[in-house]
Point group: C2
Chain length 367, copies 2
């Protein structure tokens, strides 16, 4: 399987892996796809710098990219203290009460006050871009759509392409107007931030809307070669896959996080929920006792971005350190129903390629 | 494009059209697909009988099917009067107040008291089956999943196949265990009754779950040849399309309903909502002032099936007779964004076939 995207990105197979794990990203790039490292977990730009150094040494010279979380409009930001003061005490009480009810222990003293996940802040996302552009990256993707035009220009001046996620055709058009090079058409069934329109409808709609001005990657619901082939049938130039790498061995190497993986392995395709509780914007998450608590009639409404993430940041840390797969907070798409064993990235990747070929052969026989 | 389903159903192209319009159903069958006439609009079995007589004379001897709405479990039914008494007065007041606010006129005196749409009642659906089996039908499809086993056996004794819609893999398995011959995997993006799981994820899941015991039709989000090809890539043996025929010329011939078609033509893929207000079970509808009124904080919760449909039946009649495309009640899928002109069925059908071939050719070049 080869599309024009392979030439655009200098890759062998048009499969792009979004992942917070540098081990997954490197393994995908080495397998001939494009690994895209999610930067939102790096509060400290120096830590991102060190991880990208590691990437530079472990991708065998193959291309890779990074993913940031940056609104097109620059929001007014305060300091951490200012933002904290905007969180209603009732919300904090609800979070603490819920964690107590779920039996989630407090963080050890030496891990408290780490300050939450700051990658959702515009200034921090900008520092991610600055750091990343000092490395030989091929792509900057933005989870929240088109980044500000100056970021796009900065990337282009480093010969780095820019990709932007879109959940509606009108957004995709706007992204390309801004100078975005690749559109990721992310359907309703995807994990993380996601819109209402399903991949089957969204992909050809976006392909038609931007009329060949940029290649389109299909995202949402992809975990088999049949689904990659379907994405290509819909007019995409490749597949953007995020959730499916969460149950690879390499993800476990980075995250050391067997509880989350255990929860993902046990889930079926009905075990997700789209909710604003993760960041303040609708995102698809694994359905757990934590998401159920927020769906109860007495639960507060989630706060807007970035307040909601600050509110739940400690809770996420606490649940990740605890050992209850029923109480985790994890973005994942409906493809979770097909994530049923821990496997190495290379094996997953080769299975995808093999099934794409099988699907093409099967379709050819229907003619 | 030919799949095993073509032999199973004796059709030329594996495209099945669900439609309440006999003119659409006949045109699809004549074009080489399978037209499946929705029976729920027929309160009077004799009227269905007459329409099926018309089908027998106007399908050129090509196969066709019918679609009924029948729960697998036989519910306790009262008479129309009993059911009416179960509807809270507050619900009736809300409906009347909403229609007044939307400026929807009352029905003329001679059209009142027609008794609502009874096709949602089990007894009426059974009478539809009895009538249909007196005609040379090829297929009975059930919108609510597997029909009761005695209905399946009755169909089989007439050499009629049974299809059942499924929104989850476990439902599909149960349908096939009951003797259902064809599973329609209907994704979240579909119009009418629909589940949470999107077509991209659902179709291969159901194909794998039933392991070749029955062919699978993909439903939800299909309106172009690219989407038909994607459905086949996902492992489906064909496409089940419902919404897309609502803006054909033939639909207008049956329904004489230019207001609804006008509303559909104007809508984009974001203009649908999944709600229980149509029948009591979650169904995707065109987003209008009517659906928005039910989504308001002060609106009552929809009633369970079949009460909700009885409650809103007169309202549906009133809105259909009125001339405001902003106040209609119409099940439709997200593909509505691609329904932008009134065209004859044959033209739509031929475009689908042409684009499937183009897609296969395009995919072949990616190998």
């Amino acid at each position: 399987m080869r599309t024009s995207l392979c030439d655009t990105l200098g890759i062998e197979h048009p499969i792009v892996a979004f992942t917070p794990s540098e081990h997954v990203a490197a393994a995908v790039s080495k397998a001939g796809g494009l690994g895209v490292l999610g930067c939102v977990r790096f509060n400290d730009p120096d830590e991102l710098d060190r991880v990208l150094d590691w990437m530079d040494q472990n991708t065998g010279g193959k291309p890779y990219g990074v993913d940031v979380v940056m609104p097109a409009k620059v929001p007014t930001e305060g300091t951490q203290v200012d933002l904290d003061s905007l969180i209603p005490p009732e919300h904090r009480e609800f979070v603490n009460r819920t964690l107590d009810e779920l039996g989630v222990p407090e963080l050890p003293e030496d891990e408290k006050e780490r300050g939450g996940v700051l990658g959702w802040l515009h200034s921090v996302a900008r520092s991610h871009v600055d750091v990343a552009l000092r490395h030989p990256i091929s792509l900057i993707a933005n989870a929240l759509g088109s980044p500000p035009v100056d970021i796009i220009e900065q990337a282009h001046s480093h010969d780095v392409l820019v990709a932007a996620l879109a959940g509606k055709a009108e957004h995709a058009r706007r992204h390309v107007d801004n100078g975005v090079d690749i559109v990721v058409a992310q359907g309703h069934e995807a994990g993380g931030h996601t819109g209402e329109i399903a991949t089957m409808v969204l992909v050809p709609e976006i392909v038609d809307a931007i009329g060949g001005r940029a290649p389109v990657l299909a995202a949402g619901g992809i975990g088999t070669g049949r689904q990659v082939a379907a994405a290509l049938a819909l007019g995409a130039s490749g597949a953007w896959m995020g959730s499916y790498w969460l149950t690879t061995a390499e993800y476990g190497v980075t995250m050391g996080d067997s509880v989350t993986q255990e929860a993902l392995l046990a889930a079926n395709s009905s075990d997700t929920v789209r909710s604003r509780i993760y960041t303040g914007k609708p995102a698809r998450l694994l359905k757990t006792k934590w998401t159920e608590a927020w769906a109860a009639p007495d639960a507060p409404q989630p706060l807007p971005m970035p307040l909601q993430n600050i509110l739940v940041s400690d809770a996420h840390q606490r649940m990740m350190r605890a050992s209850d797969p029923q109480a985790v907070s994890m973005p994942v798409g409906q493809i979770v129903g097909r994530m049923n064993e821990i496997r190495p990235v290379a094996e997953v990747f080769n299975d995808l390629l093999r099934e794409v070929e099988e699907t093409f052969t099967r379709l050819d026989k229907l003619r």
